[in-house]
Structure formats: structure tokens, C-alpha cells
């Protein structure tokens, strides 16, 4: 073997160390146009078609800041509990790369628009507060394509459709102590951004990307270890795998008497390893300086107030409210707040049904199951929140048995019809009318004299058999409670 993966530390070794993790999360802002020009940000356009002199970085072209991008970024900063600078500044980050047409990225450096925030997470029942150092805005580069062309062995191709796409970078403090905490932090950040509709956070499209700074130190040690930056953590699973690998690699290095080098490493999901990319010595000197083509970004108090007022209820508060107001279990509240669409769906349905707990069960059970099987998001659900609420209400009112409702739901899903319409069309209404039921019960009692005798002889459990017979005769439409009561009266 020419290259062998380094030996990883054993769980026992790792247990003696404390990992220190900080994350840099890049999120694409959900604007219709790019950050410094009017080109669309739409995904999947033919290569180099969503471009103009500005995002191509042509000589003479100048950036003009997209105010919608600023609004979205500020909302994110507020939701991450940051202080928003009244005056911030863009800076040029200079480096050469074929898909970076200007030779620099327009970012923010020493004056980001948001800083000093935090994100609360809970891991294994333990609440933790993770600091957010800063949030800044920047433009994305284009895309280099090294494969798939006839002459890919000779040339790389560049697609600049993505060039100029607005991003925010959320930099955390090195406050995370395990890959689980990093996972929870990332989950929370993603959920917040989705709730704000600041970013679609579609990881497959690269709308959410993550780099991690990782070091380890012996438990109890004050001094931080040397960190490595791990790039390319482009899914939750990769992030956790990469962090676990990197922690084990660093511990093994130290345990075997080696030293962790300060370097940039790339996660290779195929190998499941992080691979050294460049050392500190060869690290870029980005030569940041204030972007002379843009005025300092001013965000006045009035605008800030408007944006603050426009923030939706965020997941953490929503979860707490679902528990307090609806009596949901923590777990259920978490599931129902996983997206703004889910929580809105649930609340609408619960308001109509008047029974939040049963509604919660239906949303998490039948509805989510059907959607999952169908590959659909809740926003695409054929069963509207109103209809699901009506279904639950019908059950509560005794008009439908749980069993009947289970039969009706797939029909609602297939047709998009209201439950009442299906009930009527299929003649599935639950029979609670004592007059109609009495006749059936009389027939059943007449047909089963032996069981009637047993009941009257003291074997009262036989009543379940008789209820079953009534249900059979009514094809399940009878209200079980009413049937039982009627039987008891007649037998008593």
C-alpha cells in the first residue's frame, strides 16, 4: 500500500481528550438576484447564462449592493442574537482562482455587520450556549468543472452562474466539545435560517456549506491544542463523520508522540478521511483591505426596528410554547417545529380541530408517513391543514371512529377532498343514532341467545363479542361507546 490511512486513536484514548470545535457555516441568501448585480440566482440555468459584466468581473464593472440581501442577512444576525453594527464595511479578500473572476471576493473583514451572538442547543438533555463570533456578507465564486467534457483531461471549465450569489458566513466561537454538539449547533442554525426564510439551506445545491476548526487537548488542560481546518463538510452526516475522524486522528498523533500541524484539510467522503490540503506556511495571505467600490454599509435604527419586528417566532421559542400551550411532549414539539411550514401546518390544523394532541399525532403519524413515502415536503401536502383539522374534529365529535378516520385519510391524500365530502360520498359516517343502532342490537341479541345468557349469568366480558357483532353488522360505522351503553341497558 503506497498510502495508508493513519492509525486512529482508540475510544479509550479519545476519552482522555476534549475536542474543541468551531464552525464556519456559509448559507446562500434566498434572494431572487445576486448580491452586487441584477442577475438571477436561479439554479440549473445553462452554464454562463446568468451573468453580466458585474458578476463576470469585467474591466470597469462595479458592484451595487442588493438591499434585499442586506435585509435577509440582518434578520439572520438578529435571530442569532447578534449585535448589528450601525456601520459596517465590505472588504476585498484577494486570491487567485480560475472561478473567481475578479481575483478577489467581496467580503467583510474587521467590520462585519453582525457579531457577539449565540445559539442555544441541547445535547443529551444538557443545554449549551454556543457563541457566534460574527456573521458577515460576501459574494460567492463560480464553479470549476474538471470532469465530464470531451477534453477534460486537458482543460477545466468554469461556470460563472454562481458568481456573485449572496452568502452569509456564520462564524462560531470554539465552544463545541463533541461532534454531537457540532451537529446540534448546525441543526439549530439551519432551522433558524429556514424559519426566517433567509436561506433555503438546500445542502445538495450547496446553499449551506460548512468548514470546521478542530483541535484536541487533554481533559482539564487550559491551553488549546493546535487546530486544523477541515473543509468540505457538505452534509450533516459528512460533518459528523469528518469531525469524529479528525478528532481520532489528532488524538492518535499526540498519543504517538507526534504533533498536530496547523493546516487546512479536506474531507473525502469516499475515503471517510480528512486529507491534508495546505500547511500554515503556504496559507493564503488574503491582503484584505476596505472595498473602495462600495460605501460603508449603514443600517439605521428604524430599519433595524422594522426587521426585528418582522422576525417570525423562532424554533426554540415555538417549541417551548407548543409544550406549554398545547401540552405536547418535548419530542413532539421538536418534530412539529422542524420547519416553519410544519409548525404552521400543525397550528392551523390544531386550531380547527380544537384537539392539539390528537392533531399532533395525526401530523407526525399518518401525514408525515404519507409524505415521506411520497417524497414530498409538508408544503406540498395534498391534505391541507384545514382538512386534517376537520378530520380530527369529526373524530372528537363522535362522527367518525379512529378506525374510520384511518380509512378516510388515504382518500383525502389521494383526492385532496375534505373529509366530510369523502364521508358523505362513501357513506362512512359513524352511526351514533340510538334509534338506528337499537334495531341492529336487537337483531344481534336475537341471533346470539347463548352469549346473552352467559352475560346475564355474570360473564360480563362476553359483551365485547356482542359489540363486535354490532360493529360487523354496521361495517364499523357504529360508535363503539354508544353501542356498549345500549347493550348494557338492554342486557341489564
Amino acid at each position: 500500500m503506497s498510502t495508508s490511512a493513519p492509525a486512529l486513536a482508540t475510544p479509550e484514548m479519545i476519552a482522555r481528550y476534549e475536542p474543541v470545535i468551531g464552525l464556519e457555516v456559509h448559507a446562500q441568501l434566498a434572494t431572487a438576484t445576486k448580491i452586487f448585480c441584477g442577475c438571477p440566482t436561479s439554479f440549473g440555468a445553462p452554464p454562463n447564462s446568468n451573468v453580466c459584466p458585474v458578476c463576470l468581473g469585467l474591466p470597469g464593472a462595479l458592484p451595487v449592493l442588493n438591499r434585499v440581501a442586506v435585509d435577509l442577512a440582518v434578520k439572520a444576525g438578529l435571530a442569532l442574537n447578534c449585535t448589528i453594527r450601525v456601520r459596517s464595511r465590505f472588504a476585498r479578500k484577494n486570491y487567485f482562482y480560475p472561478d473567481l473572476p475578479k481575483g478577489y471576493q467581496i467580503s467583510q473583514y474587521d467590520e462585519p455587520f453582525a457579531e457577539h451572538g449565540w445559539v442555544d442547543i441541547v445535547v443529551a438533555g444538557e443545554p449549551r450556549r454556543i457563541g457566534v463570533t460574527r456573521v458577515h456578507m460576501e459574494d460567492d465564486a463560480g464553479k470549476s468543472i474538471h470532469e465530464g467534457f470531451r477534453d477534460s483531461d486537458l482543460y477545466s471549465y468554469v461556470d460563472l452562474n454562481r458568481s456573485g450569489t449572496p452568502l452569509i458566513e456564520i462564524v462560531s466561537e470554539p465552544d463545541m466539545r463533541s461532534s454531537q454538539e457540532a451537529y446540534a449547533y448546525m441543526t439549530e442554525v439551519k432551522q433558524v435560517l429556514e424559519f426566517l426564510e433567509v436561506s433555503s439551506c438546500d445542502m445538495e445545491k450547496g446553499h449551506l456549506r460548512c468548514d470546521a476548526n478542530v483541535s484536541v487537548r487533554l481533559k482539564g488542560a487550559e491551553k488549546l491544542g493546535t487546530k486544523a481546518e477541515v473543509k468540505n463538510l457538505n452534509s450533516f452526516r459528512f460533518m459528523k463523520e469528518a469531525l469524529d475522524y479528525e478528532i481520532a486522528r489528532q488524538v492518535a498523533l499526540i498519543e504517538s508522540g507526534g504533533r498536530v500541524e496547523q493546516e487546512t484539510r479536506l474531507y473525502d467522503p469516499d475515503l471517510g478521511e480528512t486529507v491534508g490540503m495546505r500547511s500554515k506556511e503556504s496559507a493564503h495571505d488574503y491582503r484584505y483591505f476596505p472595498e473602495p467600490d462600495l460605501m460603508p454599509l449603514a443600517i439605521d435604527e428604524d430599519r433595524l426596528g422594522e426587521l426585528r419586528a418582522s422576525l417570525p417566532e423562532l424554533p426554540s421559542r415555538l417549541r417551548a410554547r407548543f409544550v406549554a400551550e398545547y401540552g405536547l411532549r418535548e419530542y413532539d414539539a421538536e418534530v412539529l417545529t422542524q420547519s416553519r411550514a410544519t409548525s404552521a401546518y400543525f397550528e392551523t390544523a390544531a386550531r380547527i380541530s380544537g384537539d392539539p394532541k390528537t392533531t399532533a399525532n395525526w401530523v407526525m403519524g399518518d401525514l408525515m408517513g404519507a409524505l415521506k413515502a411520497d417524497g414530498k415536503e409538508i408544503g406540498q401536502s395534498p391534505v391541507g391543514a384545514g382538512h386534517l383539522g376537520e378530520l380530527v374534529k369529526l373524530i372528537g365529535a363522535g362522527a367518525l371512529s379512529g378506525k374510520l378516520a384511518k380509512q378516510i385519510f388515504p382518500k383525502m391524500y389521494a383526492t385532496g377532498d375534505a373529509p366530510a365530502a369523502i364521508v358523505e360520498r362513501e357513506g362512512l359516517a359513524q352511526i351514533s343514532d340510538t334509534g338506528a343502532l337499537e334495531k341492529v342490537i336487537d337483531d344481534v341479541l336475537a341471533a346470539n341467545p347463548k352469549q346473552v345468557e352467559q352475560y346475564r349469568g355474570g360473564k360480563t366480558t362476553v359483551i365485547n363479542f356482542l359489540v363486535g357483532q354490532v360493529m360487523k353488522q354496521t361495517r364499523g360505522q357504529a360508535n363503539v361507546g354508544v353501542v356498549t351503553e345500549l347493550l348494557k341497558t338492554k342486557l341489564g
Binding site: 459584466p53 474591466p59 470597469g60 464593472a61 451595487v64 478577489y104 491582503r287 473602495p292 460605501m295
Partner: protein, 477 residues
């Protein structure tokens, strides 16, 4: 058509059009013929755009035929410095790097002057990416001064200044970062204006040093320069640094008395001024006094630091602005490379001239980790102090008068091997650039040899009106 092409003015052209003495199409044809015939004497133009000029002329004639206003610059032949991008018309920036580059869009200034009826005859030579003071740094050869063919026209906008002086354009567009309009105007004996920073949109001006770059006019009269600036000036939503300040009608403010205006002379400048250029300048100051201006000394205490400050800020920004010429796009890519890093190195090594490389290296150095605070940050602080010098001076006076260059046009090749001496010759123009105030060069007289010398007038931010008024009175005195 019996018009002397070489001495046309905007006013004469308008009169000819209004009286039907000539059509714009005739004017365009004559102007192109004359320019193309005369150009070999100076090399002011790099290339011509006859189709574009004739098409613009036809639009002017059609408007006149329909009885519409053909625009303030109707039928006016204009030369454009080749750092200002023109759609479908090669824009080289005087560099091998962009030798065959054809931009897909027009600069805002170009759009505005063409909308006003201007005829763009062609693109003029300049120092590569506007870096230089003699136009000798062009990849396409030097330009000769029409007033003294063995001498430089100044730079970097040497081609534009030469074309106007030679009569192969009525007016021209140049760009000024540290004196690149005023100094060649002075060397060629024409009017050159650097407006307030933000007055004219930079959209479409190939960036050298973004916080210092300006587009401005050249003309043979103050009136024509003012008219040309008027058509270009004003807020442009495509340039975030362009100013919303209202644009006055500059030409209507000319022909006014300047009696009683207070003019400041900075002693810090005068100590640098020796020889014949000084004599001509002081004669000019006497003329202003005779016109009734009150001339007094005003202190500009940070002048000594201006050159160092400028060459830090300008090169820092240039090192970033010129990063895009990397061989990936545009027209030049070195064939002597097999890896990406080699392609970058070889392309930039072969594509840029010595002065560009020198400034890219200087700028890269001053922005480097560990040096930023000592150089770039400090330079920005000094820049603020230079600007304060101006603000304080303008509390006492209406305008500052100053020399443009320590010496008149020098011989081709005379200073090219001494870049530092070349940098130091920018001393009088650089302070105004750093402060972003409007400044211009107006012909002041000639040396015994007949070499032109300019007088510089600087005014408050956005007060081009007072600057033009003084220059106009001086010109007519």
C-alpha cells in the same frame, strides 16, 4: 463644408448644424479623414471607430430633420482614452493583456455623451492601465507631443491630450488617478478637468485605483470642457460611489467677473517650483490678480506626505484591481505554462509591462500581513489629513491655484528609466486627487522653447462652477 476641422469647437459645430452649413454625417466624415491622416504624426489614437461615429452622426442628422433637439454634443467628434470601455469596440488599456479585448458594454460616460449626440472617432493611447506620466508605458508605443514631436505628451491620458491639441478631436475623455488628465493637458497646452470624485460615474472605467479614479474631459476651451463634463456628470445607479449632488449648468455660469474671489497659494507647493515653469506660473498668478482676484497664501501642511501616501493607496488598490488579468479570461494567455500556477505567473509576467508589475508588487507588499497597518492604514490616515488641509484652506479661500507639473514636457525616453523621479513629478496633482476635490489645468503660457505650461485651479467638493468660472476668466484675459 468650409470649416477648419482642427479648430472646431462645440459652439461652432452647433452653429454649423443649426444653419445647415454642415450635416453631422459630413462632419464625422471630415473629422475621421483628418484624424486618420494626421494621427501618424503623434500616434494619439490607437484605433478608430468610423462606423460608430457615422452611425451616431446619422442619428443626429435624423433628429435635426425631425426638428428634435440633437443634444448638447450633437456632431462633436470625441476621442476616448482606451481605458474607458466601449461596446463592440476594442478597449486595450494600453496593455498587451487586453490587446484584443472587445467589451460587451458601454461605460456610463460613453452612453451619456452618445445620447447627447457625440461622435466617438476612436480610442486613444495611454500608459498601460493608466499607470504613468508620459504615455511611454503603453504596450503599443509612445505618443508624440503635437507641440514638440520629440517630447512626451504627458500621461497617462497622453493620447487624449495630444488628439485635442493636434485638432484630431474637438474634445476627449481621459481618466485621472493622480494627475493623468491635468499633467498631459498642461504638457499639450489644452484644458483638462478632473471633476469631484463621484461626480462622473466610474462604471465602465477600467479600474486602476478605485478610490482615486476619475473620468474627465479634455478640450481646447474651458467652455467646451465644461459642456462635456455637464453631459457626463450626475448620479449613476451602477456606481455606488457616484454622488447624487445636483449638476449645475456649468456653461451658463461662465463669462462672469471673478473680481473679489479669494485664491489661495500654498507655499508648500511653491518651494518645489523652480525654473521656467515657475516663471510662467507666477505670470499666470499676476493675471489672476489683475482680474481682481485676491491672492493669499494658504497652508497645506501635509503636502510633503502626499506622494508616499498616494503611491501606497494607488498601488494597493491596483494590485487587487489588476488581479483579474490572470490568463483565464480576456485575450492574452501565455503559452509557456503547463500548470495553473505557471499559467498565472507566465501570463502576468509576459502580459504586463514593467510599470504595472512594479506597482502590483508595491501594492501587494503594502497590503501583506504584518505590513498593512504600517503602510495602507497609515496612508489612509494621512489621506484624511491631506483632505483636511483642503477643507481648512477652503474656509479661507474660494479656490486654490497651483502649478501642474514641476517641468514642461520632457523628451521621449528622458525619464523612463527613473521611475522614482517620474513619481515625484506628480507632486502638484496628487494632493487634489487624494482629497477628491475638483481640479483642472488651464493653459497658462509657454516656455522660451514654446513648451506649454498649465495652471491648476482647485475648488471645494462639487464646486466645479467656481473652478470653471475662474478658468474661463483666466483663459479670456
Amino acid at each position: 463644408m468650409d470649416l477648419d476641422i482642427a479648430s472646431l469647437t462645440i459652439g461652432k459645430i452647433r452653429h454649423a448644424l443649426d444653419t445647415r452649413a454642415a450635416s453631422a454625417t459630413e462632419l464625422a466624415g471630415e473629422a475621421l479623414r483628418f484624424a486618420q491622416a494626421e494621427n501618424p504624426k503623434t500616434g494619439a489614437y490607437l484605433h478608430f471607430s468610423p462606423e460608430r461615429a457615422l452611425a451616431a452622426a446619422r442619428r443626429v442628422d435624423e433628429k435635426i430633420a425631425r426638428g428634435e433637439d440633437p443634444g448638447e454634443l450633437a456632431g462633436v467628434p470625441v476621442a476616448v482614452k482606451d481605458v474607458i470601455v466601449t461596446k463592440g469596440l476594442r478597449t486595450t488599456c494600453g496593455s498587451k493583456m487586453l490587446a484584443d479585448y472587445v467589451p460587451p458594454y458601454d461605460a456610463t460616460a460613453i452612453e451619456r455623451i452618445e445620447r447627447a449626440g457625440a461622435l466617438i472617432l476612436g480610442k486613444t493611447n495611454c500608459d498601460e492601465f493608466a499607470m504613468g506620466s508620459s504615455t511611454e508605458n503603453s504596450a503599443f508605443g509612445p505618443v508624440r507631443n503635437p507641440r514638440a514631436p520629440d517630447r512626451v505628451p504627458g500621461g497617462s491620458s497622453g493620447g487624449s491630450a495630444a488628439a485635442v491639441a493636434q485638432g484630431t478631436a474637438v474634445v476627449a475623455l481621459g481618466s485621472d488617478t493622480g494627475g493623468s488628465i491635468r499633467q498631459p493637458a498642461s504638457f499639450c497646452g489644452v484644458v483638462g478637468v478632473t471633476p469631484t470624485y463621484g461626480r462622473v460615474s466610474r462604471y465602465g472605467l477600467t479600474a486602476f485605483a478605485s478610490s482615486l479614479d476619475h473620468i474627465g474631459p479634455f478640450a481646447r476651451s474651458v467652455r467646451d470642457a465644461a459642456a462635456l463634463l455637464g453631459t457626463m456628470a450626475g448620479r449613476d445607479p451602477r456606481d455606488a460611489t457616484s454622488a447624487a449632488a445636483p449638476v449645475p449648468d456649468y456653461t451658463s455660469q461662465l463669462n462672469r467677473k471673478v473680481e473679489g474671489l479669494k485664491l489661495g497659494l500654498p507655499p508648500e507647493y511653491l518651494k518645489e517650483l523652480k525654473g521656467e515653469s515657475g516663471d510662467v506660473f507666477f505670470q499666470g498668478v499676476e493675471v489672476l490678480k489683475k482680474l481682481g482676484c485676491e491672492v493669499r497664501e494658504v497652508a497645506m501642511p501635509h503636502t510633503d506626505y502626499a506622494i508616499a501616501t498616494y503611491y501606497i493607496i494607488a498601488t494597493a488598490e491596483a494590485s487587487s484591481n489588476l488581479a483579474r488579468y490572470d490568463g483565464v479570461r480576456y485575450t492574452f494567455r501565455s503559452q509557456h505554462s503547463s500548470t495553473l500556477a505557471e499559467m498565472y505567473r507566465a501570463t502576468r509576467g509576459e502580459g504586463f509591462g514593467a510599470e504595472c508589475k512594479r506597482r502590483i508588487m508595491l501594492g501587494t507588499y503594502v497590503l501583506s500581513a504584518g505590513y498593512y497597518d504600517a503602510y495602507y492604514l497609515k496612508a489612509q490616515k494621512v489621506r484624511a489629513l491631506v483632505a483636511r488641509d483642503f477643507a481648512q484652506a477652503f474656509n479661507q479661500v474660494d479656490a486654490i491655484v497651483a502649478p501642474v507639473s514641476p517641468f514642461p514636457a520632457f523628451r521621449l525616453g528622458e525619464k523612463i528609466d527613473d521611475p522614482l523621479a517620474m513619481y515625484l513629478s506628480d507632486i502638484f496633482t496628487i494632493t487634489g486627487s487624494l482629497a477628491g476635490v475638483p481640479c483642472m489645468s488651464v493653459p497658462c503660457g509657454t516656455t522660451a522653447e514654446g513648451l506649454p505650461v498649465g495652471l491648476q485651479i482647485l475648488t471645494r467638493h462639487f464646486d466645479e462652477t467656481t473652478m470653471f468660472r475662474i478658468a474661463d476668466a483666466f483663459e479670456n484675459a
